[in-house]
């Protein structure tokens, strides 16, 4: 009897470290997924400027241009003004919203290289501040990793070189990448943000995002006034 108890005790002593190890690995894997995604975004944001100064980037034909975006403008602002049409590869806006705890640079045009640097605005859509559909997208594993967090009523702010524009989320959307319904031009002013639906098994055809309505426009210059950079 004593022998059996001792055997059982020894078995428990041996098996316990393994039970503990598997429990900890399981918990660690579950806990680490989110911080790892965030770390990836932060590293991307910190080191994304590198490509701009390298000969490889120049060789690809992409000319990236960064602008100093005014995020706290103290001067007089106007409800109506003139927008500055950016060039391809130009960072002309910075996006902030309650779902993201980082500010995201917005580039005009879209290419795989530009997507490495920030969110991209389709050049077929209208410039922020103009009447029509402004369509901005980004990778789901970097800049729009938390887009799914946006809910109806949330505020999205876009600071551009020529003004500050606020939008309110009115609709959460989900569509197939072949469906152009949400990215098509429109007569009313709106902002459409979208990204790929997270798919662990591979590339996704589904897109998720939000549609926002403008709530506030603050142009730094009146319409017709000379705009200087």
């Amino acid at each position: 009897m004593d022998k059996n108890t001792k055997k059982g005790n020894s078995f428990v002593h041996i098996i316990t470290p393994f039970i503990l190890l598997f429990l900890c690995i399981g918990i660690l894997l579950i806990v680490i997924i989110k911080p790892y995604d965030k770390l990836k975004v932060y590293l991307n944001l910190a080191f994304m400027d590198e490509l701009k100064t390298t000969p490889e980037a120049a060789g690809s034909g992409l000319v990236l241009r960064d602008n100093d975006i005014i995020e706290e403008y103290n001067g007089e602002t106007f409800d109506n003004g003139e927008v500055i049409r950016p060039k391809f590869g130009e960072m002309y806006a910075v996006m902030k919203c309650s779902a993201f705890d980082i500010s995201i640079p917005v580039y005009w045009g879209s290419s795989s290289e530009l997507f490495e640097h920030g969110a991209c605005q389709s050049s077929g859509s209208v410039v922020i501040g103009e009447t029509g559909n402004t369509v901005i997208s980004a990778h789901e594993d970097t800049f729009f990793s938390e887009l799914y967090k946006l809910e109806k009523g949330d505020t999205v702010t876009l600071n551009t070189t020529f003004g500050e524009f606020r939008y309110e989320v009115t609709e959460k959307i989900s569509f197939n990448k072949k469906d152009g319904k949400y990215v098509a031009p429109s007569y009313e002013s709106k902002l459409t943000l979208y990204t790929c639906k997270r798919n662990v098994l591979g590339s996704a055809d589904e897109r998720i995002g939000v549609v926002c309505e403008p709530t506030e426009k603050k142009f730094y210059k009146k319409a017709g006034e000379a705009l200087t950079n």
Binding site: V12, T16, L23, C24, A46, E50, S103
Partner: protein, 297 residues
């Protein structure tokens, strides 16, 4: 370990203890290694100034085609010690911002020679081409000086603190960094509390606590050291696509250093764990069979 309740409670506390041990070692490492002084030392050991000098030189040579300003105007005013002082200015300003939870507030060290070189070049150019030295001239001159400082500074910011600050990453980090001492105290206290709880749960046979602490320390050591060994042996950080040589060296050497320190601490934890388990084994056997002597052969 005969009662299932005692066993399960010990297991639960042990799981938590494993994570608090990993957490405390990580926070202690941040406390010790993530300081302006350590990063300055690291940058100085890696001799980044020479790499930065080469990059700035290449930048101004490439820019000559568009600005018409020869690289020598800038490069003759920059030396390794100036670059080093700019690197330090960025690191110190970043850690000040992290401490004070504010934005980076810094200006690069003044370089009279650089300003003088630009002024001489502009004046010579104006005289040769009969250009009037009006307000526009002065504005252009001022902007060129500012741009020179900005360009040189961007190359000297090897840890990309300015980019992190601009995108709001630094402010996020500052929330963790400014509370690091409080967090260290919290995780260390948590360790003590968990050990006391293990003693309480196993109060009828206190020696078992040594076994639980031993396996916790061993598992924490394994969980921390295995990924670190993998990262170091595969030279994982070398695969990062950071294209500025100085930034790449600075970032990867910092990551390797932190990983090495993390690995060393966890190997130590694993050794402590094994030692505790062995001691437990010896004491436990003696208690189970008191007075037993080894069989004489």
């Amino acid at each position: 370990m005969r009662k299932p309740v005692t066993y399960l409670l010990s297991l639960v506390f042990s799981v938590i203890l494993v994570f608090t041990l990993i957490g405390s070692s990580a926070i202690l490492l941040i406390d010790i290694n993530a300081t302006g002084k350590k990063l300055n030392d690291l940058a100085s050991r890696q001799k980044l100034d020479q790499k930065i000098y080469t990059e700035i030189e290449k930048y101004y040579k490439d820019k000559y085609n568009t600005t018409g300003i020869p690289a020598d105007v800038y490069m003759s005013a920059i030396n390794n010690s100036y670059i080093r002082s700019c690197e330090e200015a960025y690191i110190n300003a970043a850690f000040d911002a992290l401490e004070s939870r504010s934005k980076i507030n810094m200006s690069l060290p003044k370089n009279k020679q650089l300003e003088n070189n630009i002024e001489v070049f502009f004046n010579d150019f104006a005289e040769k081409n009969g250009y009037e030295k009006d307000d526009k001239f002065e504005l252009k001159l001022r902007k060129s000086k500012e741009s020179a400082y900005a360009s040189i500074g961007s190359y000297c910011d090897v840890y990309k603190f300015a980019a992190m600050d601009n995108h709001g990453v630094l402010s996020k980090l500052s929330k963790i960094y400014s509370y690091r001492i409080l967090m260290t105290a919290a995780v260390l206290s948590a360790n003590v509390i968990l050990i006391l709880l293990l003693i309480f749960v196993n109060r009828k046979k206190k020696i078992v606590t040594m076994y639980w602490c031993g396996i916790c320390s061993l598992i924490a050591g394994v969980l921390g050291s295995c990924p670190s060994i993998y990262l170091l042996t595969t030279r994982f950080y070398d695969s990062f696509s950071i294209k500025q040589a100085a930034v790449f060296t600075a970032f990867t050497s910092m990551m390797y250093r932190y990983t090495e320190a993390f690995m060393a601490v966890h190997i130590a934890l694993a050794v402590i764990g094994i030692t505790l388990i062995v001691i437990y084994g010896i004491i436990h056997d003696k208690k189970t069979y008191p007075g037993t002597k080894p069989t004489e052969i």
